[in-house]
Assembly symmetry: C5
Homo-oligomer: 360 residues x 5
């Protein structure tokens, strides 16, 4: 059987959750409890420091003017800790609610002192399942906070560039870091979309070759669903990037805008690819339908050929199986071989007829 994916993650249904006030911090993500872990990377062009801690207070000392601090928080289930961090950085209660509400769609909110960005990381887990992970970013004056559901992420490339001072990342500020993180997210969209392309092609082969077995149709449905989920994660982020580009705010430096524009181009490209694959996925159903019809056609031809050849012959045999007393042919010596030969030519004639109709 096909592994079924929930269409979309769900909001809590319990009456209790529904009675909560807006701004209440409720974690609705994955079930397994993950301990909140902070990873702090503090750098400028010349220095680089990195450590991890379970204790949020440790991270708060990094606030020097000429350095950029990236605090990456893994594990959202401990809402207390999240609230504490939120308070320290003076985040609006609605932001904290959105950080832990893993169903929140990608968006950007501008506040006086910081930007709040929600995005979705798409990547493949080791077991091949598509992970759709909620990520929130806060871009402040010289710091970036990122909040993730669980450990795995798509930022290893960024970490490596930071630690090895590759490219220009160390000499730019916090806004460039946010760009680099978003760029890493979008790069993984390409990988995911390319993978979908492989799956669609493989499915085309299978459909074309399909036995009307059970799974094919469910798997096509599953592909559709995955395409819809990817689109749902990617398209709102496009608008987010477009808004970063247009925003006029001290936090975004002029020189970073070129990179944001480039990122926007990439987002457009991903979106276009998604639309194309979506159309191909929808086409699979038609293809499957046609393949089934073709197979049915083949079945019917076999039946028709068998029946058309042997039913008339059986009739002939039936004729000479009748018990009339006066059937002169029955007494002739060569009746039997003549009949057999006639039957033989009848078969040949039929086969010719079907060959001419191109049924054989």
């Amino acid at each position: 059987m096909v592994k079924r994916t929930r269409y979309l993650s769900k909001r809590p249904k319990s009456n209790q959750a529904l009675h909560q006030a807006p701004g209440t911090v409720t974690y609705v993500g994955r079930k397994e409890q993950v301990e909140t872990l902070l990873e702090v990377i503090d750098y400028n062009a010349d220095n680089y420091e990195r450590f991890t801690s379970k204790n949020p207070e440790d991270a708060f000392q990094f606030e020097e003017e000429d350095r950029t601090t990236w605090i990456n928080i893994d594990g959202l289930s401990n809402t207390k800790e999240i609230e504490k961090i939120g308070k320290y950085y003076d985040l609006h209660p609605l932001i904290i609610e959105d950080i832990v509400n893993t169903n929140q769609r990608p968006k950007i909110d501008e506040y006086k002192d910081y930007f709040f960005i929600v995005a979705k990381m798409l990547y493949f887990r080791e077991d091949g399942r598509l992970e759709n992970e909620h990520i929130s970013m806060v871009l402040g004056k010289n710091y970036v906070l990122t909040f993730q559901e669980a450990g795995g992420d798509v930022f290893n490339g960024v970490r490596e560039r930071l630690s090895q001072a590759k490219g220009r990342i160390r000499s730019r500020g916090a806004d460039y870091l946010v760009f680099a993180l978003l760029d890493a997210i979008v790069d993984h969209y390409f990988i995911v979309v390319d993978d979908m392309s492989d799956k669609i092609e493989a499915m085309e082969e299978r459909v074309f070759d399909a036995q009307p077995k059970d799974d094919t149709i469910l798997e096509i449905q599953e592909l559709k669903r995955t395409m819809l989920r990817i689109r749902r994660a990617v398209n709102p982020l496009r608008e987010v990037v477009s808004r970063i580009e247009k925003v006029d705010h001290d936090l975004i430096q002029e020189q970073t805008l070129n990179y944001i524009r480039d990122l926007y181009d990439h987002m457009l490209q991903v979106s276009e690819n998604i639309e194309i694959y979506r159309e191909m996925t929808w086409g699979l159903m038609d293809m499957y339908m046609t393949t089934i019809s073709n197979k049915m056609n083949e079945v019917m031809k076999v039946l028709t050929i068998m029946a058309s050849i042997f039913i008339p012959l059986t009739f002939l045999a039936g004729i000479y199986g009748m018990n009339f007393e006066y059937m002169p042919e029955l007494g002739y010596k060569y009746s039997y071989p003549v009949l057999l030969i006639a039957m033989f030519f009848l078969i040949i004639g039929m086969l010719f007829y079907f060959r001419r109709k191109r049924w054989l």
Copy 2:
């Protein structure tokens, strides 16, 4: 048989109603007469009072400056009472018409002293049926009026927070109360949409497994209809919320706008989910079609296999059932067992052939 839902509620058809002037207050909602009942909640950060009354006059005393009064009116069939309340609060005649016209689509009208908002509550009744209830709100300086068709609603969470002073609701004004009410409505949209998701998945299983029985197709049609009805209730409200956000009016305080924006994000999310489920619902029909074709294919294969095996054999038996005088084989001792063995190998051959064609 499937329970059929009316596509949409209907306007009155009687000639009489058609001859009425615009602004005439005519109740077109549910048939059962519900007595008009007022529930008055009067609060500020420190105080909280709540009572119910059948007498509208009782509610009118609550008009103090530093308190917020929420008057919830249940039962619209007594249009006289509604008109009386309307006159007391100086509501425009068209508003009163819209309050009792339960077919009115969600909208917002701005007047000098108040806002008028129409929305639809979607929730499940105890019998599992989807309730689509008309609700009108009037947001005035320090009061909120809500008008509902019948008793059940989705506001219990708000009532609880008010009475127990949970969250910030008691310390904010009437505009925040309207936000909280709309938020409760939208939260229930999520529940309804999630439930549709479950139904679609269940239907996918059923379709995939379907006997070409009668109901399946009607139930798919019913699902489509429900999706259309939900969309019709939800989408116009999105525009309403978007307009509240953009409006520049004393009644909406600056600090409430953040919450409204958040609400708008939720509405976007519901809309997106609805579109996705709608696409999946429409896909069900294709899926059903394909399943039927697959089943037909299977039926045809059984027929073809049976016919292809036994029709030639019957012909052979017919041959030796003929009554020609000169059929030498008839006299041979081993003719019969040889023929039986030949027939046996013919059957085996056919089965191999069909196995190779993967029909077995």
Copy 3:
């Protein structure tokens, strides 16, 4: 056979008409000649006068400042009379052309001294056919002209309110009268659309139950066509109402705007309903298709069951109908009953098999 409706009314094809100058007044409506008849209603808050005349001159005396005059002209085939009225009120030649061109789509034209509005009345004639009647309105300073193809219309409610001074209609000016007339037209759209809803539901039942008889598919096509015609009549009027709302002109008073806005809300609602019913109508075709396939499936199953049971049995009978001399079974006493019993169990077995496959 189904009553076929012309998709859309047609323009004249004669070479003569094509050579006519723009602005030429040519009647292209229904064939039956209707005598032009004027109905004059002259009123203010206190007075009310009504008479009819075949003589246009009679109507022209009503031009007093403090009264509103509604002149309703029935019958457009006498283009001479129409031109005479047009000249008296100083209407632009293109307006007069549009008044008699019953194919003109709904629109609004602003002139210095008057508005010109074209709309379509949809209502059911006594024989149940949907009437799509062309109506033109001219809104002047204190008069309203309405031009209709034939006698029947949807304005009886307005006439009644005028004569009985119901509501506020008598105390408002000509702009309110135009609103009231448009409101009556839109109210009838609701009736027509509701009726379509009934027809679609009835058709769903029929399709679901359909014999692959001839008419069903033509009737679905007819439903589609009617939906398209209704949409074509309604949607452009929505834009017309929206433009009245936005226009800034002395002829439209401030206090009427609220009513226009309300009318626009109703138009939105009709449009939404039309889109929903349209989608349901298009779905009927799929439903029909699926029903046919289901029926085919059933037919095939009967065939397959009959053939699968009796073809092997016939083969067995054929075996023992052969005339070999040495067939020991033929001589045994119990061969015959044993064979019959074997055949009986074969039938039972087959029936079990088909039951397990749920074909029975």
Copy 4:
């Protein structure tokens, strides 16, 4: 076989043409060489003169201030002549390229001293084929140039009104003439679209009645293609007319604008009709599909009824054709008639069964 239309006319493919500079005047229209012929109509309210000439120089004398000159050039294959005329009127090289490039889509270009308009005339040739003819217009101060591929056109009505001074055409200027010409073109769109409506209806009848013969499907495809071609000719012109309406230029007089607006209304109407017919055309395919399925159903029923009745009977006959020695029934006197009667009732029973299933 169906007459196939090329989807769209093509650009030249020769390498030579591709190496030409932009602005190179290359004729890509119909193959037959048509001699360039000028028709000059020179008029004002009082005077009217008309002559034809093969010599472009003859036409150039008409340049008087108080008269309007319409020069209609037939035949674009002689690009030399076209260039000569172009130079005399100081037309931009790109305009001359567009005049002879018969694949150019409808558009309007504003220049300082003149407007350049490209449109498509749709009309039926004598052999019933739809002609899609390229027409270019240049509207100058007191002259209009029109360039056509070949002799036939849709302007005879305009010529007649000019020569007989019908309507207001003689007393208006060159801008009104352009309006009149466009109006004539649009009037023919109505004819063409109405004709498509007839064809679609006829096709509906045929499809409904269709034998699964070859042509039907190709003809539907051909209808689709024609609808797409018509849309391609009409829709861009709508934008052209809309731009004439909005342009603010001395060449377009205030009083002509009313007529342009009216023309735009007509264009909207044509476009709407095209969309409706397009939808109906696309629906034909579904209809055809359903009809085929219905026919298949009928075929299957005949087969199933025949087989279900006679296969069991043949089995019965086979039983009593067996050669067992001990078959007591064989010796009874009434066995034979009893069996015949039993078979008769079996047939009756089966017929009843199929009648109840409504297959008969």
Copy 5:
């Protein structure tokens, strides 16, 4: 088997590439290593010089004010050389990344001193495959740089006009050269789209005539994919051209704008054609489906006719093959010929019946 095209070219998947900083110059195009080759064309109205070199330095001397230099670089795999050229002309790192990133979608970036344009050349290679080649252009003050993946291109016409001083190309500046290059690209779009039209028509014939063989459906799918790829290459360029038209920059001279506008018209035309062909391509699937159903219908008719004629006859023969002792007909002299004649008329009757049903 069909040659399968990758839907879209892919981004590198290696972890290494993903960890690279934005702006890193990585070549992701075709595998075969092509040596970077520079072709320099330096001209003004009077002079023309052309040479090729493998050494980028040779080209850099051409920088005179009154001449235009076109440097065409073939072969992007040597990223070092590309970076060197980029640095010489002071190109932004992101531009250099886009030059070698052959998956970059068409776009235009404005910088202070130059424009950067990405487009896609579509043309047919000698083996008939559709080439989708990445091309980047830099338009500077008096120079144009073009970067191509490999040798073949669509610019031979431009080269010829430059060398032979055809048209106005030599007397205009660099902006006109860019226009001429884009025009050559767009001209080839027409060729490619026309070719698709031929392929679609050919496919229509094949589908209509199709045996339910394997390839047809895959080839339709392949056509769809090619249409999507062409659209993906063409549509973004339309926006690019539209932006060149609107940009207000010294590098684009007033007199070139007319040509750009003309180019935009051509792009619109290509886009429209693509949409039409796309719709026709999608229609192929329906057509194929219908054709299959028609063929199935035919197969079923043959079966039904054969079965309906011979099954009843076989039954009759079976009757007289029974071994009852008392079957009086068996003894009559003319029973046999009478039965044969009766059977003959039965056959005739059946044939008449099927002919009347138009199955023959």
